[in-house]
């Protein structure tokens, strides 16, 4: 896969991440519209997970944050050593970490949304 392909995906993720992160911070009181402590009460949190739009937003936030963060980590790690073996190890290692992270987050969202 060409680097420019990954970079285009990264640009898209950056655009998505920018807005979802700001929304997420706003919904938890960091910009003053909502009470910080109140946003963490269990019943409120669960209600949010069970509504479609917030759940989708959290999923999108998770995927874009995981991609952007791990892509940055991969770029830093690629500098440490030379050679195709290292390049492949880093790229696939980071991919596995990303799948694990998104998988755990999706588990949380799905179980909470479906739980009684």
């Amino acid at each position: 896969m060409r680097e420019s392909t990954l970079q285009i995906v990264n640009y898209v993720m950056i655009a998505v991440l920018f807005f979802t992160v700001l929304l997420h911070l706003a919904l938890h009181g960091f910009f003053g519209f909502v009470d910080y402590e109140g946003s963490l009460v269990y019943s409120d949190v669960v209600t949010r997970y069970r509504q479609t739009i917030p759940a989708v937003m959290l999923t999108v936030l998770l995927i874009s944050a995981a991609f952007h963060g791990l892509y940055g980590l991969r770029n830093i790690l690629l500098e440490f050593r030379s050679g195709p073996v290292w390049d492949r190890t880093v790229s696939y290692g980071v991919l596995v970490a990303g799948i694990a992270l998104v998988g755990w987050g999706m588990r949380t969202i799905v179980l909470t949304a479906m739980g009684g």
Binding site: Y36, V45, V46, G69, L70, T108
Partner: protein
Amino acid sequence: MADAIVSVEPARKRRKSPVGDQVRWAFWRPMNVEKLALLVQRISGLALLVYLFFHVFVTGFVASGGAAWTGIMEALSNPLTHLGEFLVFVGVIFHGVNGIRILLLELSPLVGTPARPDYPYKAQSLGRGQKSILYISAVMTALAAVSAFFLLFW
């Protein structure tokens, strides 16, 4: 004219180490502000990635019921965690606004357009436009720090 030699001393050996190499360049000259911004961008990015893993793990407790959730929230309601959240918020604001600057440099004419280089050479890519965005990001980071201080500690 050997008397013109004032002294001979051993040169400092540079030890190569992965972490040392990653940070040492930031303090080599030339010390331009964009290079320092890159260092802070990398550090904030890595710190936010570590936080992301931690955050996704902690929020996983909501799937285990009200008692588990309330328990972990109470365990994490201490000044140290609030300091962590403070740093996360400050880091997000700097990383995001400086990131916009990088995005504009890569994709828009902010970086400059090729022209005839005439002395004294002023690099367009180090121009005032992108420097002002960098200073805006510093100002917004400071504002974020103040507001997060009042939110989390006051």
